[in-house]
Amino acid sequence: MNLKRDITFTLNGVKSRASVTADMTALAMLRDVLGLTGTKYGCGEGECGACSILVDGLSSNSCLMFALDCDGRELTTIEGLAKHPLGEKLQQSFVDCGAVQCGFCTPGMIVQATHLLEKTPGASREQIARGIEGNLCRCTGYVKIIDAIEAVAEGQT
């Protein structure tokens, strides 16, 4: 019988709980147990960044995180960033710049961009490109994605 545990954590500012198994990823918990499908499953091995979330304020691949390890932590997903000052600006900037093609990488991009601009306000174009190196856009629409992040970064300075 595989272990099952009830864990508690803060999810997008709200105290939450979930029942998780030992080998479950945080991504599976978010999507399949809690029904938050904004965070995407891309590669399942940390290569694509589509599953990026903030864990205690640090961007992380939720596909590589054990759901059990979410116990007691503060998680922020793309759904939570809608109410986050920087996340909200980035979302609007992605719309304004047309930085979306198929849209599958967008949640992860915005989560990672939020983390980047929190750590490095006013980041340069080069810093932005390096900052999102863990996020793949299979439509290869990087120029507009970087434009969108840069527009917000410029507003920070």
């Binding site: 030992a22 054990f66 390890d69 983390h115 863990g134």
Partner: protein, 287 residues
């Protein structure tokens, strides 16, 4: 058999107690463990021990004639640490090339060491820096500590001398001698998120154009990250010039034992070892 117990202790003594059980899988950053278990290359033990909440494993401090780096320090934490910045630039260079920001926020130095991948990014600079692995266990109520040089700790791909009841608690790095210079180079098909085709670490004490205490370490060219001792000997105490640099690069090419795999052929790896060792030493001689 499936996982029946899960522990996330906050103190080291508690973790060492839990490690006395049979079939324990240790979870730190989790970035490799999750990939390996989902790919079927590793299985979770009957006990999953999450050591991530142990604050004592998270510290970096001066210790004797060196610096003790807690095993749980992440790549991004290392990059921001003033002691690491001051003394171990070559380790910073490797952290900067490590995977992606998301992974650097989670992947730990101890985890990279225990994974013992021939291509582990931090292992080459740690070899150049003569790192010692600190292991602790609690076999009969009292904590025991031992140290092993990193080169002895790793015995093969994914294989180490860690006893199942031991925990890697820290890496200890001696302070480099005055005049120490270090360079790291990683070759992959893209800068981010790539597993090295090869990696190279060069270290030594510069006095004018002469290099002493030479350390040449290579990743992804043998079953373990390795020091190239013949190449080191070719350069030891020599003036950095075209002849000594070529001698060292050629010795390194002959000394490494690469395999053919999806990332590169053995032949190509040997050529890379020669050409990039040459270029790195030329760059060093010109600074």
């Amino acid at each position: 058999m499936s996982t029946e117990q899960y522990w996330a202790p906050q103190t080291l003594p508690e973790a060492l107690e839990h490690l006395r059980a049979k079939d324990v899988t240790i979870l730190a950053g989790g970035t490799d463990l999750m990939v390996q278990t989902h790919a079927g290359r590793a299985r979770l033990g009957s006990t999953l021990l999450n050591i991530r909440r142990i604050g004592a494993l998270h510290t970096i401090a001066r210790d004797g004639e060196g610096v003790r780096i807690g095993a749980l320090c992440t790549m991004n934490e290392l990059q921001r640490d003033p002691l690491v910045k001051q003394h171990f630039d070559i380790l910073l260079q490797a952290c900067d090339h490590f995977a992606s920001d998301q992974l650097r926020n989670n992947a730990t130095l101890g985890g990279n060491v225990c994974n013992a991948s021939p291509a582990g990014d931090s292992l080459v600079p740690l070899l150049v820096l003569d790192a010692q692995v600190e292991l602790q266990s609690k076999p009969n109520g009292s904590t025991q500590t031992r140290h092993l040089p990193l080169a002895e700790f790793i015995t093969g791909p994914g294989k180490t001398r860690r006893d199942p009841h031991e925990l890697v608690t820290a890496l200890w790095l001696p302070l480099p001698k005055p005049g120490f210079v270090g360079r790291f180079y990683k070759f992959g098909t893209r800068p981010a998120l790539d597993i090295s085709a090869i990696s190279i670490g060069i270290g030594g004490v510069r006095q004018g154009q002469t290099l002493t205490d030479v350390r040449l370490a290579y990743g992804a060219v043998a079953a373990t990250p390795m020091r190239a001792t013949a190449a080191e000997a070719a350069l030891e105490g020599q003036v950095l010039n075209a002849a000594s640099i070529e001698a060292a690069a050629a010795a390194a090419r002959d000394e490494v034992r690469p395999i053919d795999d999806v990332r590169a052929s053995a032949w190509y790896r040997r050529e890379l070892v020669h050409n990039m060792t040459l270029r790195m030493l030329q760059d060093e001689s010109q600074t």
